[in-house]
């Protein structure tokens, strides 16, 4: 019986080719636009996250704090209920990590951490052959830092291996190199801290984050300690994680157990992440309106069709079709348009997303890319399909219910 209703629905759909094509087009465009916009916004967001994780890591541990009077304790008279709040307001901060070895041992208890890099930061004046500028010195252990960053892939000139093998070498951000007209192999002087040091440029890197590319230089950690006059302490830790999404909760745990200031990448980049989230939601709402309009279109087509088909429904009822059969014919029509729309919309979405990913687009600032970034995520397709199912179902259900309520005797009497 279901197949007969489906067969009738199919014939009715074919009998309204133009109206159904317009409805179908609405679903196809709605689904494909939804997928395209989500692929782009989440593509740029994912690329931004990859950039910041590859540059500053998932978690950063910096200053140590001591709790002075920030703990609030309370308990009931019978002693059963107890409250304890730790307040950071009364904490005293000590700049940098006091004892890196002890902290490393403590971090061994966190299996979610995949790498630790100790970084000593400080400021210096970098002088090239003709010009100089203030830079942010990062003392690192190259092999350790590779575990927590994407530095190896960020090198645009020179070799990371050269930097690794030559302690008196330096890696420069590409904007510094451009501004000071420096090339790989040239010598520069860092002034500040305890004096001057001369270093050879082993490589030039580009993170895409302009703030970093125009101010950061990497030197070896022991050289940095001597140059900045911080022999044992004052450094920070940059951590990488197997699952960076869990950084906030791991950060909180590390902070509680080590009494150091710990910031996850989500907290650090909250402003940009909020911008991406707002863009994603706003584009989803905008594009959903196309699906809503196509749903209204389908409702319109079906509502008119129920009026036009009243006599046919009445005669079908006289032949023994149940009210539920009458409504099923209209629900099936919605199902047919929806199914074809989903298939075509998905295909168009995939093709358009692929085409967009090939469009050249140069972006520098918060990341570095030369083409549109797209994210291939099945969730985008699932959401687009779900939204279209909801809209088309509602659009079909109302006319279908109306069809079920048709009284054959009344219709036939009025027709004759």
């Amino acid at each position: 019986m279901k197949s007969l209703n489906l067969e009738l629905a199919w014939r009715f759909v074919l009998g309204r080719k133009r109206a159904m094509t317009m409805s179908l087009l609405g679903i196809v465009l709605g689904i494909s636009f939804f997928v395209i916009t989500q692929a782009q916004t989440s593509g740029f967001e994912a690329f931004f996250i990859r950039t910041i994780l590859g540059t500053n890591g998932a978690i950063r541990i910096s200053d140590r704090f001591q709790d002075m009077h920030g703990t609030v304790r309370s308990s009931s008279k019978d002693g059963r209920t107890k409250f304890l709040f730790n307040s950071r307001e009364g904490a005293r901060y000590t700049e940098g990590i006091e004892n890196p070895v002890l902290l490393r041992n403590a971090l061994d208890h966190f299996p979610q951490i995949s790498g630790i890099s100790e970084i000593l930061q400080g400021n210096a004046v970098l002088s090239g052959t003709s010009r100089s500028q203030t830079v942010e010195v990062h003392g690192i252990d190259p092999s350790e830092h590779m575990m927590v960053s994407d530095l190896e892939n960020q090198i645009v000139q020179g070799q990371l291996n050269t930097f690794d093998l030559q302690p008196k070498s330096v890696l420069l951000g590409n904007r510094i190199a451009q501004r000071l007209l420096l090339q790989v192999g040239e010598r520069i002087t860092l002034q500040g801290g305890t004096g001057n040091i001369q270093l050879r440029i082993a490589g030039i890197f580009e993170t895409g984050v302009s703030q970093i590319d125009k101010s950061r230089v990497y030197i070896h950690l022991p050289i940095a300690r001597a140059f900045l006059g911080k022999r044992f302490s004052g450094s920070i830790f940059q951590l990488s994680m197997f699952n960076p999404k869990k950084a906030p909760e791991i950060s909180a745990q590390i902070q509680e157990t080590t009494s150091h200031r710990v910031i996850s990448w989500q907290e650090r980049e909250q402003v940009w992440l909020d911008v991406f989230k707002a863009l994603r939601i706003s584009s989803a709402i905008t594009v959903s309106s196309i699906l809503l309009l196509s749903g209204l279109g389908i409702f319109n087509v079906f509502a008119i069709m129920v009026i036009e088909k009243t006599r046919d429904i009445a005669i079908l009822r006289s032949m023994g079709f149940k009210p539920s059969d009458a409504s099923a014919v209209f629900l099936w029509q919605g199902g047919i348009v929806l199914t074809v729309g989903i298939i075509l919309g998905t295909i168009v979405g995939i093709l358009a997303t692929y085409t967009i990913s090939k469009i050249p687009l140069r972006i520098r600032g918060i990341f570095s890319t030369d083409s549109f970034m797209v994210n291939w995520d099945i969730a985008h397709y699932a959401w687009a399909i779900l939204i279209s199912i909801v809209f088309v179902s509602i659009a079909s259900l109302i006319p279908a219910r109306r069809a079920a309520k048709i009284e054959p005797a009344k219709i036939i009497r009025e027709t004759l």
Partner: protein
């Protein structure tokens, strides 16, 4: 006459009353109608427009319910039976022909005719075969695969008759089946309807305004103002 008395009626309506609203007015369409019809018998219901003929057919065809009174179809009380039961009976026991053919234009002639069988769960092949047979008997064998709206008025009405008879109903209810046809077509279609129905021992109750056609029926029931005035 004796045979008729001895035979159990296929359908028996007793003291039917029915009214419906038309705008703000209530139309008392039937006021205590009683009748019975037997298998293989053709009954014509005649009377002036608005006397309740069509309303009577809709009640007998289980398309509507009487306000009062009883209808027995093959001994089963059906006037107040459940919607599900009445729907089943319409599919299994009843056939309808209306003044207008009411064919579904998106379906071919054969598909239109096969609809009652398909609804009853008869497989597509069997239903198509049976529909083709009936169409052959009505002289439409060459129109099977054409769409219904491509046929002439007389042909469309013959297709409607084929659809009403394809599942060999016990009762055929026909509301002015030739009302939309010219005299030549009207007579031709009517002859076919009678021939086929009688051949299959189907009881026919039909409404007509054409006295010549009514004269060809076994019985004539005359109605006026919702009442039977002559049997």
């Amino acid at each position: 006459m004796n045979d008729r008395v001895l035979q159990k009626p296929l359908i028996q309506a007793t003291n039917l009353f029915h009214s419906f609203s038309e705008g703000e007015e209530t139309v008392h369409a039937l006021r205590g109608i009683s009748l019975e019809a037997h298998a293989g018998e053709v009954t014509a219901v005649v009377g002036p427009s608005g006397c309740g003929k069509s309303t009577l057919l809709y009640l007998l065809g289980l398309l509507d319910r009487p306000d009062h009174g009883e209808i027995h179809l093959e001994g089963e009380s059906v006037a107040q039976a459940s919607d599900q039961r009445r729907t089943f009976l319409r599919n299994q026991k009843l056939g309808f022909v209306f003044q207008f053919h009411f064919l579904i234009k998106e379906l071919t002639v054969c598909e239109n005719v096969a609809l009652p069988l398909r609804k009853a769960g008869v497989p597509l092949k069997t239903a198509t075969k049976r529909a083709t047979e009936v169409l052959c008997k009505l002289g439409l064998e060459d129109k099977c695969k054409r769409f219904a709206n491509k046929l002439s008025g007389g042909e469309q009405q013959r297709v409607a008759i084929a659809r009403a008879l394809v599942h060999s109903p016990a009762l055929l209810v026909a509301d002015e089946p030739t009302g939309n046809l010219d005299s030549t077509n009207s007579e031709k279609v009517f002859e076919l309807l009678l021939k086929f129905a009688l051949g299959e021992k189907i009881a026919v109750i039909l409404v007509t305004h054409n006295p010549e056609l009514a004269q060809k029926c076994n019985r004539i029931l005359r109605m006026k103002d919702g009442q039977m005035i002559k049997n």
